[in-house]
């Protein structure tokens, strides 16, 4: 068995790679949602001043990378690798962002599971001493996703109640080797004796690579239901591999299962023996957190940017403030192709888990 592997699917990052900084940028609709104060930047217009939607998404990702880099206090030349992912064919958004960065680039496709997939691989590279500083990010845009996977934007089609809204969002994190720590946290706290407490450090402790679980579901409007079993499988394997108690984490977040997928995930986890009280206290889904009910997105948000922005914005800042200490976050992806539903294929789901700890 490999030295850094636990159980069947989990890696342990013994050098505890640090998350030095993060940046989240969201679009107009997301900026009107309940988490709006946690994001670093809210676009005034989803075009971001560009002529095509693909350019807008690229610009969002690029801006997020530059801001995260600036916050980390590092120079572009110090970054060893750039790992990005998105939903578009041939990773158009990531590749065209990376061409301006002049950083060694790897594009990873995981559909909406891109963020944790990228964080996982970044952690492997940093923990294994192959890189000292890595930028990992993911983005999605409602307009580019609709254009590619569904109908033209102005088409008068009705979305069923189970449909989810691809989030216009980008999230980026700078991961640094755990061997040498530098703090850049803006959140300094006073302890009981009015002494300045050292700022929280956030590190990545474990990562679990998910397996593809295909439920046979063919309806592309039921993404949440199609991906839920994959998320459940990864969660259960993570706990089995690490041996953690169910209550180990303060928060367990799935990426974009939406309202329906979230309920299915809870039901399946409880059925598998996970205590319901623990789930009620700590489990949530980024897709259900990003929008309000009044915003009428039916089953919730989806897209790489959904989990990327919630993680880089809300979760990261909450951890820096000391409100959350241990998080297990799983970005969930539906690995269908554009033509696979027409060929009668079902939707394969996958979920990769990353566990973060603030100390």
């Amino acid at each position: 068995m490999a030295e850094n592997k636990l159980g069947k699917q989990t890696f342990i990052f013994k050098n505890r790679p640090k998350i030095t900084s993060a940046c989240s940028i969201v679009g107009v609709k997301e900026g009107q949602g309940p988490l709006n104060k946690w994001f670093d930047m809210i676009l005034e217009e989803d075009t971001f001043g560009e002529k095509t939607w693909e350019k807008s998404e690229s610009k969002m990702l690029k801006e997020a990378i530059l801001v995260a880099l600036q916050k980390s206090g590092k120079n572009k030349t110090e970054i060893d690798v750039l790992l990005c992912g998105d939903l578009l064919n041939q990773l158009m958004s990531s590749s065209f962002t990376a061409r301006d960065m002049h950083i060694p680039f790897i594009g990873l496709y995981g559909a909406c599971s891109a963020m944790t997939e990228n964080l996982l691989m970044s952690s492997v590279l940093v923990d294994g001493d192959y890189a000292s500083n890595i930028i990992a990010g993911a983005s999605s845009h409602y307009c580019t996703a609709e254009r590619q996977f569904r109908m033209p934007l102005e088409h008068g089609n009705q979305r069923p109640p189970s449909a989810q809204w691809t989030a216009t969002a980008a999230g980026v994190m700078v991961i640094t080797t755990g061997k040498k720590y530098e703090s850049n946290s803006p959140f300094l706290k006073l302890d009981d004796s009015a002494n300045l407490k050292p700022p929280k450090r956030i590190c990545i402790t474990h990562g679990t690579i998910g397996k593809i679980i295909d439920t046979g579901m063919k309806d592309a409007n039921q993404m949440g239901a199609a991906m839920a079993p994959a998320a459940v499988d990864t969660i259960l394997n993570h706990f089995a591999d690490t041996g953690f108690e169910p209550g180990h984490y303060d928060v367990i977040l799935t990426g974009d299962l939406g309202l329906i997928g979230k309920q299915i995930a809870i039901d399946l986890l409880v059925d598998a023996g996970f205590p319901k009280e623990v789930l009620d206290n700590c489990y949530d889904d980024c897709g259900t957190m990003l929008f309000d009910e009044e915003q009428d997105v039916h089953s919730g948000a989806s897209g790489c940017g959904c989990s990327a922005s919630v993680l880089s914005g809300y979760v990261y800042k909450k951890m820096l403030q000391g409100d959350i200490n241990r998080v297990l976050i799983l970005s969930t992806g539906a690995l269908l192709a554009k033509i696979s539903p027409f060929q009668g294929e079902s939707i394969p789901g996958i979920a990769h888990a990353i566990s973060l700890e603030a100390y």
């Binding site: 009705q158 109640p161 046979g216 579901m217 329906i260």
Partner: protein, 164 residues
């Protein structure tokens, strides 16, 4: 999730088992899926669709009353419906109306107009020839194929029955 029962039947192939699991999971997932309000949606579609057709008829009758021939009047009404749908699509209003009305605006010729204008707007970014030109009929194409094919078939049937 539903577990397979031991009924003493012969071992199913992997394909058959996969299908069973898929069916069982779909049934399970449906428990959590809110059902659309079919009655209310149908009512909205009926009312809006009816209003469009009634409006079109009023305009047609006015044209005929003004001295136009019936054929010309109906052609002009069709043009008016198509142009209205195109303008509304261009202004970004058609999809908002369609969200409410559904089939009520899609079934009349307004839906066809929208299905051509929306890809035209969308794919303008890829150029006039390879973008707009090739994608213009991407949604309307199947409608034309089915319509023309069925019309040809019915024409043949009429012709054959007319021989006897």
């Amino acid at each position: 999730m539903a577990k397979p029962k031991a009924t003493g039947q012969p071992m199913k192939t992997q394909q058959e088992q996969k299908k069973e699991v898929a069916k069982a999971y779909e049934k399970y997932a449906n428990q959590f899926t809110p059902k659309p309000n079919y009655f209310l949606n149908s009512l909205k579609a009926f009312i809006v669709g009816g209003l469009i057709c009634t409006g079109a008829l009023i305009i047609q009758n006015n044209f005929i009353g003004g001295g136009m021939s019936k054929d010309d009047a109906s052609t002009f009404v069709t043009i008016i419906l198509i142009c209205t749908a195109q303008l509304l699509t261009g202004f970004g209003l058609f999809d908002t109306i369609a969200k409410f009305a559904g089939a009520g605006v899609i079934v009349p010729i307004t839906g066809f107009a929208n299905s051509m204008v929306s890809p035209a707007i969308e794919y303008k970014k890829e150029g006039i020839v390879l973008g707009v030109g090739s994608k213009l009929f991407s949604l309307a194409g199947p409608v034309l194929v089915c319509g023309i094919s069925i019309a040809t078939l019915i024409g043949l049937i009429y012709w054959l029955t007319g021989l006897f």
